[in-house]
């Protein structure tokens, strides 16, 4: 087991109170596994990604543990977490387009960055990895502004994985890209895993169709909780959680026409996480909800091997 997260709780401090963005989530990611993390805005997926590597000032680690390769990560402690970053856990942020220093040539910046982590830059290795994502080596002599969005994204991918981290977190890295670039970037991620540059990966996106293309396992989150986690094809072909079912049914596919098959969304909106309702957090929007859903929170149960569902009706 590469990554094991147990009952992790991360809250945001606001003036109005604590926003329970991540409220007790448990899952694990195996070696060589790509976990796709899907859900709507505000479901806690970005909080989870950030929580595993760097909490910002407003985030607070309330409880739960994160274990990576048998070691417990001190995620609540910014200073103690530092040695793990980049070496063991690495993140490609949502806006990595702007994550590169615009005044430095890329090659120079990479050198400085790696040195700041106390490692010597292996040029040949760097070149090999540029080849892997089909970037010309000349990009090292250019400034970030001279690269297109897709190239920047791939460059950041190369930089983040240079020290062969055990876990790579990719947060919405393709959402600003065109479809063809998106495909290239997503395929490059899979290539990194296949080449062994990273052991396991969490791929965060709101686009389930995209996750399906590259993830081995998909985890659907709702309102700070796990709704369903299963192998990618199972989630797509036979989802058990009503939220996952409705979400997947609301996706238009190429070939599906309004006139032939009218899709529908999920009525209502997610609950406020300042003061989440008791019981199941999806029950207000759920067509299957019954009395028990309001009284008791459904635990995530393994209904079949590697298939977890948090629903009383599943």
């Amino acid at each position: 087991m590469s990554l094991t997260v147990t009952d992790l709780k991360v809250y945001y401090r606001t003036l109005k109170g604590e926003v329970k963005a991540l409220d007790g989530i448990s899952f694990s990611v195996a070696d060589n596994e790509i976990l796709g993390l899907a859900g709507e805005s505000g479901c806690g997926k970005t909080t989870l990604g950030k929580g595993l590597i760097r909490m910002d000032g407003r985030m607070k680690h309330i409880g739960g543990t994160v274990e990576l390769d048998g070691e417990t990560l001190p995620i609540g402690d910014d200073a103690r977490m530092n040695p793990y970053r980049f070496h063991k856990v690495s993140l490609i942020p949502q806006y990595s387009m702007s994550a590169m220093n615009p005044t430095r040539k890329i090659g120079k910046m990479v050198g400085e960055l790696v040195r700041s982590r106390g490692v010597k830059l292996d040029r040949d290795e760097l070149h090999a990895r540029l080849d892997q994502v089909s970037l010309p080596r000349e990009v090292l002599d250019r400034y970030p502004i001279e690269l297109s969005g897709g190239m920047k994204q791939r460059m950041v991918m190369v930089i983040s994985t240079l020290l062969n981290p055990s876990l790579l977190i990719a947060d919405e890295i393709t959402s600003a890209l065109d479809v063809s670039t998106q495909k290239a970037v997503a395929k490059a991620l899979v290539g990194f895993r296949d080449a062994g540059f990273v052991k396991s990966m969490i791929f965060i996106t709101h686009d389930i169709s995209l996750t399906y293309q590259i993830a081995d396992t998909i985890m659907v989150m709702y309102a700070g909780k796990l709704a369903e986690k299963a192998p990618a094809h199972t989630i797509v072909s036979a989802p058990r959680h009503p939220y996952a079912q409705l979400l997947i049914n609301s996706l238009p596919e190429v070939g599906v026409r309004y006139a032939d098959k009218r899709l529908s969304g999920i009525p209502g909106s997610p609950p406020s996480l300042l003061d989440p309702p008791s019981g199941c957090r999806f029950r207000d929007r759920c067509p299957l909800a019954f009395a028990k859903c309001a009284e008791e929170e459904p635990p995530a149960v393994e209904v079949e091997p590697d298939h977890f569902v948090a629903c009383w009706k599943a």
């Binding site: 709507e40 805005s41 969005g149 065109d178 479809v179 063809s180 998106q182 495909k183 997503a186 395929k187 709101h206 686009d207 389930i208 169709s209 995209l210 399906y212 293309q213 094809h233 797509v236 072909s237 409705l246 979400l247 997947i248 609301s250 996706l251 238009p252 596919e253 190429v254 070939g255 599906v256 026409r257 309004y258 009218r262 899709l263 529908s264 969304g265 999920i266 909106s269």
Partner: protein, 294 residues
């Protein structure tokens, strides 16, 4: 109803406007009454510029855009027939005012003394399935993206428009609310409205539109009935786009190779040729390009 003829937009760029950049290059298509046409393109394809030109927010360099035969003339009369909804719902509302101000603006400009205004508002809100109590008298940041976009559509309905230009209106919405906004656009057809749906997302365009126009670098590469463009894509670029769309249940496959078509070679502007009825494709017309012969 709406006709674009050879529309071109050239921007001056660089110091003192010394260089030029052609954003839209000789685009012609039309949108009929009660029809949804989707305009599909990646970033930099000129799709948003075309939308803005139809709305009169950007001027044309050459060519013409006409509505029922009359050229676009930005002003009160024109905006009574043509309205737009934009990508970012939060930027579409003035943050210092309440959201329903967009409706009041319509009243002020067009119907200053309509006695049954509140009824009309209620009717328009009902048409976009909004509950007046939930959206009126709220600040934009108190509403969800889906609510804000639907409120903008309601605003357009108050004017009894003929054409709605919807520029990426669902790209910032969550999947579970996105489809409801799309269905709403489709329902507008029943009211006899024409909709130009501008998007980068092929599956959304495909879901909604009768006809599809595929843009690349400011030119139309393929257009026609949606089932033909998507079902039997002829242009290599369309094929490449379609193959890159992630689909549930079927893994990515490689695009069919782009045979020797000149479309990607420099200088090939690509005339639109009729491949079959209601299906046009840009092609240099060479025998070996895989497209229809000239």
């Amino acid at each position: 109803m709406l006709e674009l003829h050879d529309v071109t937009k050239v921007y001056k760029v660089g110091a003192f406007g010394g260089k030029t950049m052609t954003a839209v290059d000789g685009v012609s298509f039309d949108v009929g009454t009660g029809e949804v046409v989707s305009l599909i393109g990646e970033s930099g394809s000129g799709k948003t510029t075309i939308g803005r030109m139809i709305l009169g927010l950007t001027s044309l360099t050459s060519g013409s855009i006409t509505l029922d035969g009359a050229p676009v003339k930005p002003g009160k009369a024109y905006y009574r027939s043509v309205q737009g909804v934009f990508q970012d719902p939060f930027s579409s509302y003035n943050p210092v005012f309440k959201a329903d101000r967009v409706l009041r603006m319509i009243k002020e400009q067009y119907f200053p003394s309509v006695p049954d205004w509140d009824d009309r508002v209620e009717e328009a809100l009902a048409a976009v399935r909004l509950n007046p109590g939930q959206v009126l008298d709220k600040f934009p940041h108190q509403l969800s993206g889906g609510q804000l976009q639907r409120l903008l559509i309601a605003r357009a309905l108050l004017l009894e428009i003929k054409l709605l230009v919807a520029d990426e209106i669902t790209s910032m919405l969550d999947a579970s609310t996105r489809i409801d906004v799309l269905n709403l656009l489709a329902d507008l057809k029943a009211r006899g409205l024409g909709v130009l749906y501008i998007t980068h997302d092929l599956s959304l365009g495909n879901y909604l539109a009768e006809r599809t126009v595929v843009l690349r670098h400011g030119t139309v590469v393929e257009m026609g009935l949606t089932e033909k463009v998507f079902g039997d894509p002829l242009h290599p670029y369309t094929r490449q786009l379609l193959s890159a769309v992630p689909r549930l249940g079927s893994p990515w496959e490689e695009a069919a190779p782009a045979d020797g078509c000149l479309y990607h070679q420099k200088g090939a502007t690509g005339r639109l040729l009729a491949a079959d009825e209601g299906h046009f494709v840009a092609c240099a017309g060479l025998d070996d390009c895989g497209g229809p012969a000239a």
